[in-house]
Symmetry: C2
Subunit: 263 residues, 2 copies
């Protein structure tokens, strides 16, 4: 028995989210049925976290156990020739036995993409939140600083599964005007964990500051309120990308087996 | 009666091409029915040229006559709030009466996008031709030079409507490694006119040079053969973008009426 760490990219547009469910095309079901075709086994995969319908990933991490003897490089190629075109294997690696993509995760980074210009962009309609007027990103950057650090993020959690604690540590919250396209504003959040809809709720709140309808101090007040009703709107799913998941080196360094990654 | 010059962007993925037809969703039908909703008139639009199923546009130009008194800016807004999300108005301008987007066109530029890397990209699957190995763009650039100028391009025309002449002038054929993403190779062709599938046929031919299966001199030999069977494969539709259409200033400068354009 081996444990595999699979890094996955997907376009979430045509998926009903990560989690397996009776109706609708999900990422988990699609991946598990693809792995069954390749290995002949009914495997169960674990993601670092579930993503909602319409949310994308550049570097989702998934773990699973398999009896398959296929080298990591062959698995990588088999996945990319068998998965539907809106999913791709980025890397396949042998991990220490028992590696668990969710439980072992130390931190994650999400990117949220806003287009803030009058001109609609047909090619980015499924990958951005399109707002008709320029947001003031300098004011948003000032406001964002009050959310960095270890806090109770209850105000930025929408109804979801109950969690034992709402305290998370946000290591970075960066507001970046895309250097290659001034009409794109990137909001990146890195944390040791995320509550349900936390990034989208932070983005919706910061956007109100960027639009000028709220002061720079407001997101800090929302945080301090520890109340779900305090926050701004939840930004739509299609602007959200899971960029990467980080692990302790010891959790993922396998005893010298294969690794496959394009170039 | 006014003549309008409309600059249009579209994602061709979900369209059966430009031209109106009995079955399938076409760009022309969608635009004409949208204009009917806005103006109440059954208008007939003319594009600078038809694009095939799956081909995209950043700056397609369309002309039509209308009795509508709506200012250009209001038309622009009405179009962008009424068109489906895979079409957008980029600019609406009053043109001299009788301006015809196809007959008045002086030159056009197309871009073809190749991704030449082992790693599939889920977000670009409908917007690039994905090839698993790096192409030699320096060899392709040398080969491309033999196609620049005024030539009989019969070898690069696939079966289509018969034309009175197959002679066209290619003003530029640029091979550009995307400065922001080294896995993207852009092939841009500017000409006074294009035969059916001309860009895709040129791209397929140059790609064989880039792969190393043909010499740099081969595309020039294909051109000289004046035979449709001489060329390489026709590159797939989804990598092709119509960038812009150029007109003589006199053809488009209206006697001081409105112009609407974002920003």
């Amino acid at each position: 028995m081996r444990t595999i760490k699979l890094t996955l990219a997907y376009d979430g547009t045509a998926f009903a989210g990560w989690q397996s469910q009776a109706k609708g095309r999900t990422l988990q079901d699609t991946l598990e049925s693809t792995l069954e075709k390749i290995t002949g086994e009914r495997l169960r995969v674990e993601a670092s976290g579930r993503t909602d319908a319409g949310v994308h990933a550049l570097g989702q991490v998934v773990s699973f156990d398999t009896e398959s003897p296929l080298p990591a490089d062959v698995l990588w190629r088999a996945l990319n020739s068998t998965l539907p075109r809106d999913m791709a294997a980025v890397a396949v690696e042998d991990a220490p036995p028992g590696f668990h993509a969710r439980r072992a995760a130390k931190s994650k980074r999400y990117r949220y993409v806003i287009r803030d210009t009058r001109q609609p962009n047909v090619f980015e309609r499924n990958y951005t939140w399109q707002l008709p007027r320029r947001l003031d990103d300098e004011r948003m950057a000032i406001a964002a600083q009050s959310l960095v650090g270890t806090h109770d993020f209850t105000s930025f959690e929408t109804t979801g599964s109950p969690r034992s604690s709402s305290i998370r540590t946000v290591q970075a919250l960066d507001i970046i005007r895309d250097p290659h396209d001034a009409d794109r504003l990137l909001i990146e959040v890195e944390a040791d964990g995320f509550l349900y809809n936390m990034v989208r709720s932070i983005v919706g709140t910061l956007a109100e500051v960027g639009r000028g309808v709220r002061q720079e101090s407001w997101p800090g007040e929302v945080l301090a309120a520890i109340s779900r009703r305090a926050a701004g709107q939840t930004a739509p799913a299609q602007g959200l990308f899971l960029l990467w998941v980080k692990y302790e080196p010891a959790a993922v360094d396998a005893p010298a087996r294969d690794e496959a990654r394009a170039s």
